[in-house]
Symmetry: C2
Subunit: 213 residues, 2 copies
C-alpha cells in the first residue's frame, strides 16, 4: 500500500518534523513550503515533493497546517509513540548517551544498558541499571527493547550486533567505528564521527589545493 520513501527524504522529513514541533509550541498555525525549506536547508519544490509523497494536506494559496502536518509526519515516521532502546557499552560515550535528554524528548527511552566490565554491572546510571552482556536475550525480551545502540569498542561491535539481532532487537544504531552488515533483516545505521571529520578534511584540503575559491 504505502509508497517506499527514500532515505534522503526520510532524513528531510525528520528535519521538517523538528521544525514543525517548534512552530506548534509557538502557536503558529500555518507554514509554507518555502519557510520549511529555508530552515531545513532544502528548496521549496523539494519540500512540496517530499510532502506530496503521502497524499498531501496543504492548502493552495495558504500553506500547510502545522498541527495536521506534524501528526502526519509523526505517523509516517512511526514517531507518535515512544520506542524502547537499549544501550550496549557503558564507556565514556555510552554513559554520555544515557544522559542525553534529547533522546527521550524525541521519543526514544533508554530502558536497558549492558556492559561486560564487572565494576559497571549492577550500577545505576541516569536511572538505568547496567546488566551483564550475557543477559542480553532475557533483558531485551523482558523490557521489550526494540532498538539498540552499540557503543562498544570497534572490535566487539560485530559480535554484539549478532547477539542483539538474535535477542530480537529490530534495529541497530552503531556508534563504533566499524562497519556492521545487516543481519537477518535487522537494519543498521552507523554514526561515525571520525568519518565526518575526514569529510571535512577533504573539503579543506581540496579547497586549498584549488586556491581557496
Amino acid at each position: 500500500m504505502s509508497v517506499r520513501i527514500s532515505d534522503s527524504t526520510v532524513r528531510r522529513l525528520s528535519l521538517y518534523l523538528r521544525m514543525l514541533r517548534g512552530l506548534r509550541v509557538r502557536g503558529v498555525e500555518l507554514v509554507s513550503s518555502s519557510e520549511l525549506a529555508d530552515r531545513a536547508g532544502a528548496t521549496s519544490a523539494q519540500v512540496r515533493k517530499d510532502l506530496s509523497l503521502f497524499g498531501s494536506c496543504g492548502k493552495r494559496g495558504r500553506g500547510y497546517e502545522v498541527d495536521a502536518l506534524t501528526g502526519t509526519i509523526e505517523e509516517i515516521l512511526g514517531l507518535s509513540r515512544v520506542w524502547r532502546v537499549a544501550l550496549v557499552g557503558v564507556g565514556k560515550i555510552g554513559t554520555a548517551l544515557l544522559g542525553y535528554e534529547d533522546m527521550l524528548d524525541r521519543g526514544f527511552r533508554v530502558v536497558a544498558a549492558f556492559d561486560i566490565a564487572p565494576d559497571k554491572i549492577g550500577r545505576e546510571i541516569f536511572g538505568v541499571t547496567v546488566s551483564p552482556l550475557s543477559e542480553v536475550e532475557s533483558v531485551v525480551c523482558e523490557k521489550g527493547v526494540e532498538i539498540a545502540i552499540i557503543a562498544t569498542p570497534p572490535a566487539t561491535a560485530p559480535e554484539v550486533a549478532v547477539m542483539l539481532s538474535e535477542a530480537g532487537v529490530g534495529a541497530i544504531l552503531n556508534f563504533a567505528p566499524t562497519r556492521i552488515s545487516e543481519i537477518d533483516y535487522v537494519p543498521v545505521r552507523t554514526v561515525d564521527l571520525v568519518l565526518e571529520l575526514e569529510g571535512l578534511s577533504y573539503l579543506l584540503t581540496s579547497r586549498r589545493r584549488n586556491g581557496d575559491d
Copy 2:
C-alpha cells in the same frame, strides 16, 4: 586541476582507507576491488569507479597495492597530517569526545576546549585545559585550530558557529541537534543521533505496515 569528488564517494574513500590501514598493519600487500567492496558494503564496480577518479594505481589481474593505495587516499583526503581540533561545550558528550582515542589515532588532535560554565573553565580534562568561550578568537589563533566540534545545547550552537568562523576556524562538525547553515564558506557537517534513530523508526514502522516481508 583535481576533479571534484562527490560527498558519497568521499565517505566511501574513508571506509576504504580504514580497511587499507588494517590490511597494511597485517602485512597484506595486494587487495582486490571485490575484497574492499565486501567489507565497505559497496559493489566491486563502485570501488573501481571511486578509485579511478584519481588516475588509478591498480594492477590488472592482480588488484591494488595496499601500501600505495593507502598513501594515495590519505593524500586525497588530506589525512597524511594531523589536524588541530577544538571542542566547544564540555558537557557530557563533549567530555566523552575529549577522551575519544579513535580521533587522535586517525589524525585529529584536540588542542583546545571551550565552555561558559565557570566551574569548568580552567579544569584540565584528558590533557586539555578548558578556556572560556569569550577567548575563542585568541586561543584558536594561538593554537592554530583548523576544525571545531560543537557540542553545546542546540540553542547556542548557531551563535557559537558564527564565533568560530569569525575566529578563523576552517570547518565545523556540529553535534547539537540544530541545523547550522554554512557561514562564510566554512563547511558544516551535522551529526544528529536522534535523526538516525528516527530513520530506524521509519524502517521498523513501514516494514510492520507492509506485513514484515
